[in-house]
């Protein structure tokens, strides 16, 4: 297992002659990017330079000192075992690996990198790896036919490609990034087994397999029975490390430090992912700087306090918002200037209640009623329909029921609880139409009074609502307000379910002034 230590020194010399006169025309398109990845190696001497290179590497990876040195140690002389880098998202795995591959001695002859997330199919993976290992000749047509379909063909082709490379005795690195994605692919299990067993299948000592995954090794090796690789764990960053990372490359570090001292801690409690934090902090910092005239200035204590008071309300909003979509300010809105800013922030705080009472989009009245009836059909039990939709409009019956005995009330309570736990129920089309008919007939009189004073409108008014109900239904399904199940094998008809929450339902009800709460069954 530990044979590959030997070729280390010898390959130094052959590395210099890697661009032998025969190959350059072949490897031209690929060789330049490789040099980009490994820019330092060709020029620098060993010894001192190597150490400084390592320092540069550690400098570029704040908070990752242990992992980086592990990487260098485990990668450098082509190791016997595959390597698995794992840890949560945005913990610097890929970055550390790519930087380490730049710095290791001896230089890798070739690095083939496959990010499984950006490859839509196994075939694309095969094609991408093979093309990286053997750069295609200028006519691309021939290479296109050689993409293997079956895993076995792929292994054979891969071995061919690698054998020619390894003949010169240098290490070839195969990197599989985002390995966890494969699990959700069609027939992902088989492919995953193949990828993980490549070491056993190829049996080429110069080939180094590196896996990068956000799932732990237990997720993979329990099932394949392949050799267990070396692990490097990338833990989540601590607060100070995150601060170091975020601080990099800021034009006014003093100002940014004071900002981070205010904003980072609370947000860090919400998420530890650096990318999410970065995204959340960016607009906040812009807010933070708003009162400042000069962004280059170093803030003193009083300014800091002022800025803190300015940012605090925004911070509270940001903590509760997972995904905020800023309105694009048009040019004329920008001109409004300062007066607008204050108003808008105030509105933001109160927004949950005041702004959102109106429905933000247009829907025809019949679609609104249909949506309401779907909501009712999903919320209420079918057995209660008769009680709710009788001629009295439901409210009387409802009260009478509440005065029933304790035992039945308890039973009903559990029933309601169960219903809430189950989420919205499904209903057949007939029930929906029946409820629709009921609630439109109830509100017809009211509508005629309020909206259409002309008596002639009655003919084309609510009575005609039924005509294109199926069209409206498909509209609602298309906008994800309703979902339609496949037809039930026993009954034959499709069932529907309403996906809207009560807020939206209430908004819709308000816009047609329909007393929705009267019809929702509650305890």
């Amino acid at each position: 297992m530990s044979q590959p230590v030997t070729p280390r020194r010898t390959t130094r010399s052959s590395a210099g002659s890697a661009s032998d006169p025969a190959s350059p025309s072949k490897s031209r398109p690929k060789s330049t990017p490789r040099r980009q990845l490994i820019p330092a190696a060709s020029k620098e001497e060993e010894g001192e330079d190597e150490r400084s290179a390592i320092n540069a590497l550690l400098e570029a990876l704040p908070g990752r000192r242990a992992q980086a040195s592990d990487l260098l140690r485990l990668l450098a002389p082509a190791p016997a075992l595959p390597l698995l880098l794992y840890g949560g998202a945005a913990t610097g795995k890929t970055r550390a690996l790519l930087l380490a591959l730049r710095h290791i001695r001896p230089r890798p002859r070739r690095v083939a990198y496959a990010a499984l997330r950006s490859l839509p199919s196994p075939r694309a993976l095969f094609a991408s790896l093979l093309s990286q290992l053997s750069p295609p000749p200028s006519s691309s047509a021939s290479s296109r036919q050689r993409v293997p379909d079956k895993p076995s063909d792929f292994v054979a082709a891969l071995r061919d490609a690698l054998a020619s490379l390894c003949a010169q005795g240098e290490a070839v690195y195969l990197v599989f990034d985002n390995l966890e994605v494969v699990r959700s692919w069609d027939k992902g299990g088989q492919l995953l087994a193949l990828i993980l067993r490549l070491h056993d299948l190829l049996r080429l000592p110069q080939v180094v397999l590196v896996y990068v995954s956000s799932a732990t090794p237990d997720a993979y090796y329990s099932m394949t029975g392949s050799v267990e690789p070396n692990h490097i764990y990338f833990p989540d960053y601590a607060v100070d490390e995150v601060r170091d990372i975020l601080m990099r490359g800021h034009s006014n570090p003093k100002l940014y430090t004071s900002f981070l001292s205010v904003a980072l801690k609370p947000l860090f409690r919400v998420t530890r992912r650096v990318d999410e934090l970065g995204a959340a902090l960016e607009p906040l910092f812009r807010r933070y700087c708003e009162p400042l005239g000069d962004l280059k200035a170093v803030p003193d204590e009083s300014t800091k306090r002022r800025l803190f008071e300015h940012i605090q309300p925004h911070l509270a909003v940001a903590l509760n918002e997972t995904f905020s979509v800023p309105m694009r300010a048009s040019v004329d809105q920008c001109k409004d200037g300062n007066s607008g800013v204050k108003a808008s922030t105030k509105r933001q705080f109160g927004s949950r209640d005041s702004l959102s009472t109106e429905l933000e989009f247009h829907m025809s009245v019949s679609a609104k009623y249909l949506l309401l009836s779907a909501f009712l059909a999903s919320r209420n039990l079918a057995t209660l329909d008769a009680a709710l939709f009788d001629s009295t409009g439901g409210s009387d019956n409802h009260k009478r029921k509440r005065k029933s005995s304790q035992a039945s009330m308890n039973m009903k309570d559990t029933m309601v609880e169960e219903m809430l736990m189950k989420g919205p129920g499904t209903f057949p089309l007939e029930r929906l139409l029946a409820i629709f008919q009921c609630i439109t007939s109830v509100s017809e009189d009211a509508l005629n009074d309020v909206e259409c004073p002309d008596s002639m409108m009655n003919g084309s008014g609510m009575t005609g609502l039924m005509s294109d109900v199926l069209l409206q239904l498909s509209t609602l399904c298309n906008s994800n307000f309703l979902s339609k199940s496949r037809s039930c094998p026993l009954e034959g008809a499709a069932r529907y379910r309403s996906n809207i929450d009560e807020d939206l339902a209430l908004k819709v009800a308000r816009s047609v002034s329909f007393p929705l709460s009267k019809y929702i069954y509650r305890r």
């Binding site: 075939r123 989009f361 004073p453 005509s467 906008s479 009954e491």
Partner: protein, 722 residues
Amino acid sequence: MSAHPGDAPLTAANNIQPFFVLHKAAAAAASSVPSSRTRRRIDASLPSSPNPKSAKRPRDVDAQDEEDSELYEQLRLEAFHRIWSRIQSTIDEVLRGINLKLFDQVLQWVQESFSAIRAVAKPCHDEVRQPYPLLTDVICRRIPTAFVLTKNAEFVDDITTFRDLAGHLQSSGCHLAKLSAAEFSVKHGIGGCFRSLLRQLLSDVPDVADVSALASWYCEAENYDQPIIVIIDDLEQCSGDVLGELVMMLSEWVIKIPIFFVMGIATTLDAPKKLLSSEALQQLEPCKLTLGSPSDRMNALVEAILVKPCAGFCISHEVTMFLRNYFFRHDGTITSFISALKLACSKHFSMEPLSFLCMGVLEEDCEEFWHDKFEALPQVIQKYAFALPSCTSATNLSHSSNDMVKGLCTLLKLQKDWSSVLLCMYEAGRHDKVQLLDIFCEAVNPDLQTQNVSNAEPPVFKLNIEKLSGMKSGSGKVYMAQVMNAIRYLPMETLLHVLEVWSIHLRGMSEINDKVKELQSTTIDADTARATKEKWNRRSTGSTGNATAPLNEKVALLLQDITRKYLVPVECLPFHEIICFKNVGVLQSALIGNPRRMVQLDLLKSQSHLKCSCCSRTGTALSGSLHDTSIMCNLAQEYGDVINLHDWYISFEGIINSRNSKVKRKSYSSPSKKKSKSTPPESEAMIQTRFCRAVTEMQITGLLRMTSKRRPDLVQRITFGP
């Protein structure tokens, strides 16, 4: 037509009745100018045809009249095409104008995002082609995404918007791909949707589609310096998983290949949150853009097509109310509003004999045009023109072409004044969120005129307003009253602005325009001194209503005045029938259709259509000579919502057998009718077959459905009522 379908039930040739029943409505609705042959047949089946001309047309018209009518039909067709194309181009222009604002915003956003991305790193071509990510100091790679809120749950209107947006962006140099929900299906997965993305960008899609193909395409010199925009117009319908995967995949590459998303959202901003996983959501750098709401577009359209007489075609109050209801209650899309309008237009030109005169509005010299046309009219139609209901009330018309032309000219003039005044009113009401469509509906109400006449005494304002909003709400001046009220409380700057706009609208009406100018000048004199003080004063006490400024009062008075004088609905003018479409019934049946009900009605009352000799005698009782399906449908009326098949069959068999015995008796008297084919009593098997076929037909036409498999002996009725 009086063929007995039961005679040879299995020969298809005789068996045209169900098809005739099914196709009749479609033929009448679809063909705006049907050939004379089909029209005659329809006339026969629809005795109360709304078309006076074709209904009056006798069967044996002489050749001259036939030729004339052909000629005029041709003319009307031409008029329809010209006028509709004018209207259509106006519509296009208006909608494009509304959209253009959004398009420019999107373009600006694209440019800003692109420069932001390029500020992070400007990778060289080789770097772009690398399979591994670029090592930059940027912490989060997020795809700039514009969420375009279309503000309409119905999606139809926005198809063209997004198509135009694509064209707009493409013309300004961006690479563009449009993905629809069909491509984001679970079935095809990420591979399918990525392939179709590549297909739209690359001329030559490789066999194995992955991002590196896109990268090498993007590195080509002519592609490099522009962003790629991916438009997804209906986000809600996409599969969230596939879209999420695409987002994750592209976000890895966003610095190397700047791909931005433009996503259309029909409902609320919650839609992407519900659809995408939080991981994918984090990869988007969102930005919200909004499209004009449907009612904004509606206002613009109403102003351009209906208020400003752009093509000499207008619609009556009833039709307007119908269209308004259709828009707000049923459909809510501009598309269907336009198609309804087109239908109205085509109906107008196919039904109104004189409608071709509308073309005069488009001519340079309309008087000349009308003169020529009217002189050439045959006597019958001339007489018809002066017998129009709107002319009979105006008694001082001698039946000459001059009167006709004069009438049409005044009609146009008054229409123009009407629209100017209406626009003034809208301008004033706009600040109070009054919709143009609402005011328009009131302004075309012919009852308005009669009210105005009765209100001619000098108005006492406060009382009058109350009267209008309270007592007269039944006759519909609610919105106008609201406008009048709104004027009183307009702040000074707005009022001045309103006056300015008025003077533009009223340019053609000199004496009123003078009054507006006068008002404007007095305000400028008087208000410069006390404007600020006055303003605050009024605001603080304004709610009581007594502290309205004198200027507001004056403006309101002026508006009241011109409203009374000039807001004459088109339906009160002579000759309006020529340009105004009034027949709401035709439009309604063509639009709403209600096909299932029509099928049922036709089946129930097939005698009235077929007019056969056998059934008329039997009166209301069911005759066996009816078509099987018709019999079955009649029998089904006796049941509730479920029908017992056995009972149904028994009664069906009874009717068939009774008829057979009758035929047997009859066959002695009229043997020729039976074509020497004496029918034996139907065998049980044959009756069962006919029964089954009839049930199937009813099921296909949607009158019946099978109940669950547990109850095979029952069927369910779907349509009820006569």
